[in-house]
Amino acid sequence: MKDDEMEILLVEDDPRDAALTLRALQAENVRNRIEVVRDGEEALDFLFCRGVYSGRSPNHLPKLVLLDLKLPKVDGLEVLKEIKASPECQTTPVVILTSSAEQRDVLESYKLGVNSYIQKPVDIEQFRQTIKTLGLYWLVVNRPPPDKTLADQRGTEAKVPGWGKCGNP
């Protein structure tokens, strides 16, 4: 998969959940480009072009990050915190997609600046509907933040400190 085709970063430790999510997203005949990572550390490595992703171009950020909360190594809230704290990625929409409906999780996520919080419906039909709806909304209906490469060409964002040094925040 080429970087510039990648539209969604799915952070999901459970391969079955990941498979079902992918299945739901791709059911709409929209061939979304989806990158799946299995834990919080891998997600951060991908976004900040570190570790196994050090060769990745920092210019292409996903249009949407789907983030589970309960993740190995670095948990979802920690990932969210780092994303929203980094100048490079803070504009990337992040949607929490989790089983937890705990109020403290919801509240903490919004405090950290999450763009949407979705509880995975238990019922598979509702689950499929929810995933489809959110894919359509964030990739088709929603207007994403301007692409960094275009922004660089226009030079409008050049003054933002740390801009263009993705991977070394």
Binding site: D14, R16, D17, A19, L20, R23, K70, T98, S99, S100, A101, E102, K120, P121, V122, D123, I124, E125, F127, R128
Partner: protein, 485 residues
């Protein structure tokens, strides 16, 4: 001191009065004797009308210094001879004396006077009139008063001395004892002790007994305090244990929420995927089995949700606010519209009161009760469901009554238990958690819930709420028709 003084004074006065009375009688007698002597000596003078002789007789009274005056009178009341101690020559008229009385005397402030008839051979031949001053009696009175004063003074002084001695011996220790008792009762300090007197009398015994009593109380108090401290420690310990258990329970609930739901979704998801991707390769039997899997997972999903909601109700703190129960019922009816679509249900909602309750939880109560009523009236056309407020056996209850399938009262005690169901799943679906949740909410509000039913006649669920506001019903239309066929 006052009492003994008064008693003594009264005794003295009584004695003085007695003495004076006696003395007065004595004086009167002595005056009478003098009058008799004078009378006897003046018989001849009277008979022979000899004033000189009479004068001599009367003047003999000079010997008695207390005689103020005396006179010998003829029967006609004319003075024959008179004697005056101080004012010689004055004539004193004979006072009138009632006839037939040989002698009479009277007393004034200053004197005692006596008139006595002089009788010779049974015939009254004259009268003697003698007045005596009361100097002697007054002197005696003064002396008596002096005596009383002296006696009183000495007695009181003696009483004072005796009482102060007594006070040192008895009163002071008792007062000290009383003061200590006051301190003990006021400050609740049981460590004080009454000082011993050193004597071996009743008061010493009293003090000893009092001190022993204090010792016992002190011991009890200490024991009580240590028991209380132990109790407090245990409460703290138990609370900590309880909190730990509660936290574990919360963690468990969270884990149920997160971990148990995911595999369930996977089973469902892949069952659907199987149908979609390989449906053409599956025969009817395989498809039927697959459907069973899907149905079971759906039911398990509902079970988990209901259980979580029950656990949530248990953990949640009540946020009380005055709420119109009628409005809650209307909201629930709106929510139920979807479920009861296509059914003929007559909802008859009466006036419901306001109550200080948690609106969210109370709405859940009505939701569970009304959806239950709708569910178990499934075979009825029309279904009639009453929601009302009224007095049942002296208490105000809110009730939900339906004309549904009812249940056997034999199993009424199982109704509110978790996972307890009185109907077969294929007849009426449900998890058996709804009424347990309802009961838990009602109990949290300090109320009570019960049900009465008869098979095929319907069921009535009634509950009390302690916080129902007695006056002011929320007025709502009595009859609400919902749903049409």
């Amino acid at each position: 001191m006052l009492v003994s003084g008064t008693a003594l004074l009264l005794a003295c006065v009584a004695f003085a009065v007695y003495d004076l009375t006696t003395f007065r009688a004595t004086m009167a007698r002595s005056l009478s004797i003098q009058a008799q002597i004078v009378g006897a000596n003046s018989v001849s003078a009277l008979l022979f009308n000899d004033p000189e002789s009479a004068q001599k007789t009367v003047s003999g009274l000079k010997a008695a210094p207390n005689i103020l005056s005396a006179g010998i009178y003829t029967p006609a009341g004319q003075p024959l001879a008179t004697y005056w101690r101080d004012r010689a020559g004055r004539v004193l008229p004979l006072p009138a004396v009632s006839a037939g009385q040989a002698e009479t005397y009277w007393l004034t402030n200053k004197e005692i006077a006596l008139v006595r008839s002089i009788v010779f051979q049974g015939k009254q031949i004259g009268a003697v009139y003698i007045r005596s001053d009361l100097n002697e009696m007054n002197g005696r009175l003064t002396r008596l008063a002096g005596l009383v004063f002296v006696v009183l003074s000495i007695s009181l002084a003696a009483a004072f001395v005796i009482s102060s001695v007594f006070q040192r011996v008895a009163t002071r220790p008792i007062l000290q004892l009383a003061e200590i008792a006051r301190i003990v009762s006021r400050e609740k300090t049981y460590s004080v002790r009454a000082p011993a007197t050193g004597n071996r009398d009743e008061i010493a015994f009293l003090i000893q007994a009092f001190n022993e009593m204090l010792s016992h109380i002190e011991e009890r108090d200490a024991a009580l305090q240590s028991a209380q401290q132990g109790l407090e420690q245990r409460v703290v310990q138990r609370t900590a244990e309880l909190e730990a258990t509660n936290n574990e329970l919360e963690a468990f609930t969270y884990s149920v929420a997160h971990d148990l739901r995911a595999p369930l979704r996977h089973i469902q998801g892949f069952s659907v995927a199987l149908t979609e991707d390989c449906g053409s390769q599956l025969d009817a039997t395989a498809q039927g089995h697959l459907q069973q899997i899907v149905d079971s997972t759906q039911y398990m999903g509902r079970l988990i949700s209901d259980l979580l909601s029950l656990a949530h109700v248990g953990r949640q703190e009540l946020h009380l606010q005055v709420t119109g129960l009628g409005s809650l019922v209307q909201e629930v009816l709106q929510d139920l519209k979807h479920e009861t679509d296509g059914r003929n249900i007559h909802w008859r909602v009466g006036d419901l009161p306001f109550a200080d309750c948690d609106p969210g939880l109370m709405k859940q109560v009505f939701y569970n009760l009304l959806s239950n009523a709708a569910k178990y009236t499934g075979p009825r056309n029309p279904a009639i469901i009453d929601v009302g407020y009224g007095s049942v056996e002296g208490q105000q209850v809110i009730f939900v009554r339906d004309n549904g399938v009812g249940f056997n009262m034999k199993y009424a005690n199982k109704l509110f238990g978790v996972f307890q169901r009185l109907h077969r799943k294929e007849d009426f679906e449900g998890t058996g958690v709804g009424l347990a949740t309802v009961q838990r909410i009602i109990h949290k509000h300090g109320g009570r819930i019960w049900a009465e039913a008869e098979i095929d006649k319907g069921a009535t669920f009634s509950f009390t709420l302690e916080t129902v506001q007695k006056d002011g019903l929320q007025e709502l239309p009595v009859l609400v028709l919902e749903g049409t066929q």
